[in-house]
C-alpha cells in the first residue's frame, strides 16, 4: 500500500468524528433510537458497547491467524454472544434497574452491526493493541453519538437531564416540554434533524477545503 501506516493515535481518534459510527457510518441504529429516551440509559448502553466491543476486538485479533476464512463469521458471532451474556449477567446483578430499562436491547448488542463490522473490518487484520484501541475509539464515538441524541430528547421532551439515578436536574417547566420527542416517533425526528445538521457541517468544511 502506498498510504503510510496509521499511528496509534489516529486509530484511536478515528471513531470520534471522522468515522463516527452513529452519524457518519449509521451502524447500530436500533439502539441509537430505542435507548435515547434518557441520558442515563444512553450512557448505560454506551458502557455496555464499550465493554463488548473492546473485548471482542481483542479476542478476534488474538485468534485471527487460526480461524479458517469460511467459518469466521459464525465464530465471531459466538464470541460476541458469549461476551454479551457475561455483560447481561453483570448488569442484572449490579445495576438491575438499568438492565430493566434497556430490556431486550441489552441482548440485542449481539446483532449490533457496529461490533461485527469492526471485528470483520479491523480486528481480523490488525494486532491486539491496535484492535483494542480501535474498539475503544469506535465505542466512545458511538456513546458520544447516542448521548447527544439523548440530551436533545430528554431535555426538550421531558425537561430534565438524568446522569445516574437521583443525579438529575429539571430545567424546563412542564408547559414548555415537547412530549412527542420522548415518545417512539420523536426519536426519528431528533435523529433525522441532527444528521442533517451534521451533514451541513461536513459539506461546508469539504467546500472550504476545495477552494483553498
Amino acid at each position: 500500500m502506498a498510504r503510510r501506516e496509521k499511528t496509534l493515535k489516529e486509530i484511536f481518534t478515528n471513531g470520534f468524528f471522522k468515522q463516527n459510527p452513529t452519524f457518519v457510518q449509521f451502524l447500530g441504529m436500533c439502539p441509537t433510537l430505542a435507548v435515547t429516551k434518557s441520558v442515563e440509559s444512553a450512557l448505560g448502553m454506551g458502557a455496555g458497547v464499550i465493554f463488548v466491543l473492546v473485548l471482542s476486538n481483542i479476542a478476534v485479533s488474538l485468534i485471527r491467524n487460526y480461524v479458517p476464512r469460511e467459518v469466521r463469521i459464525p465464530i465471531y458471532i459466538v464470541i460476541i454472544a458469549a461476551l454479551v451474556t457475561v455483560l447481561e449477567m453483570f448488569m442484572k446483578a449490579f445495576v438491575p434497574e438499568l438492565a430493566k430499562t434497556l430490556g431486550t436491547f441489552l441482548s440485542l448488542i449481539v446483532v449490533n452491526c457496529l461490533i461485527l463490522g469492526r471485528a470483520e473490518a479491523f480486528a481480523s487484520k490488525n494486532g491486539v493493541l491496535k484492535s483494542a484501541l480501535d474498539g475503544l475509539g469506535m465505542a466512545i464515538g458511538f456513546t458520544g453519538g447516542i448521548v447527544l441524541i439523548a440530551i436533545f430528547r430528554e431535555l426538550l421532551g421531558a425537561g430534565s437531564l438524568t446522569i445516574w439515578g437521583d443525579l438529575r436536574v429539571d430545567l424546563i417547566p412542564e408547559q414548555y416540554q415537547i412530549s412527542i420527542l420522548v415518545q417512539a416517533s420523536g426519536a426519528f425526528l431528533v435523529f433525522g434533524v441532527l444528521v442533517a445538521q451534521i451533514n451541513k457541517l461536513i459539506f461546508s468544511r469539504e467546500d472550504r477545503n476545495e477552494v483553498t
Binding site: 441504529m29 441482548s107 420523536g186 444528521v195
Partner: protein
C-alpha cells in the same frame, strides 16, 4: 377474538419498526426500491415466523427444564444463523426463481435485530407482551406472524414513498438518510393513532 387482538396489536400498534425500533438497518438500507422492499419483507416474514416457533420450542423444552435460560442469547443467535443458512440452501435447491428474488437478502437477515428481538421478547420477556408468563404456542405463532407482516407492510409503504420522493429536489444535507428519518417520523405518528382502536 383474543387472537385477533394479538395480531392487530402486533401489526399496527406495536409495529416492530416504528414503535419498537427493531431491524432499522435493513429498513433504511433496502427500502429505496419497491421490488427489493417487497422481497425483503417476504424473506423476513418467512424467517421471523419460523425461527420464533423454533426458539419458543427450544426455550420451553430444552432451556427451562435444564435451568440454563441464561444461555438463551447464544442459543437463539446460533439457531437463527443456522436456520437462515438452511433456508438459503433449501430455496437454492428447489426454486431458482425464488432464490433469485430472495437470495441476496437472506444472509442479511441473521443480523436483522427483529429476528433475535422477537425471539427474546416472546420467551424471556413474555409477560410484557402477553400479560402471562406462559403464552401458548398458538399465541406466539400469531404474534410472530403479525410482527413480521407489520414489518413487511411498513417497509413496502416506506419504499413507495421514497421512490416518489426521488423525483423532487431535496437539499444536499437532507438527502438520503435524514429525509428518510423524517418520513419515518411522520409514519410513526400516524401509526400511534392505531393505539386508540384496541
Amino acid at each position: 377474538m383474543e387472537y385477533i387482538a394479538i395480531a392487530f396489536g402486533a401489526i399496527f400498534v406495536n409495529n416492530v419498526i416504528l414503535n419498537q425500533f427493531y431491524g432499522l438497518c435493513p429498513f433504511l438500507g433496502v427500502s429505496t426500491k419497491k421490488s427489493s422492499a417487497l422481497s425483503m419483507g417476504m424473506a423476513v416474514t418467512f424467517v421471523i415466523t419460523l425461527s420464533t416457533m423454533i426458539a419458543f420450542a427450544i426455550y420451553n423444552y430444552v432451556l427451562v427444564p435444564n435451568e440454563i435460560t441464561y444461555l438463551s442469547t447464544i442459543v437463539f443467535i446460533l439457531v437463527i444463523a443456522s436456520f437462515v443458512q438452511l433456508v438459503e440452501m433449501f430455496i437454492k435447491r428447489f426454486s431458482a426463481s425464488l432464490y433469485s428474488a430472495l437470495g441476496v437478502y437472506l444472509p442479511l437477515i441473521t443480523t436483522n435485530c427483529a429476528v433475535l428481538g422477537v425471539a427474546i421478547d416472546i420467551t424471556v420477556n413474555s409477560n410484557k407482551i402477553f400479560e402471562t408468563d406462559t403464552p401458548t404456542f398458538m399465541m406466539v405463532t400469531i404474534y410472530a406472524l403479525g410482527i413480521s407482516l407489520g414489518y413487511a407492510l411498513v417497509i413496502f409503504l416506506f419504499s413507495a414513498i421514497r421512490e416518489e420522493m426521488d423525483a423532487y429536489p431535496i437539499k444536499r444535507n437532507w438527502k438520503g438518510i435524514p429525509i428518510a428519518l423524517i418520513t419515518a417520523f411522520i409514519m410513526a405518528m400516524i401509526f400511534v393513532g392505531f393505539g386508540g382502536i384496541v
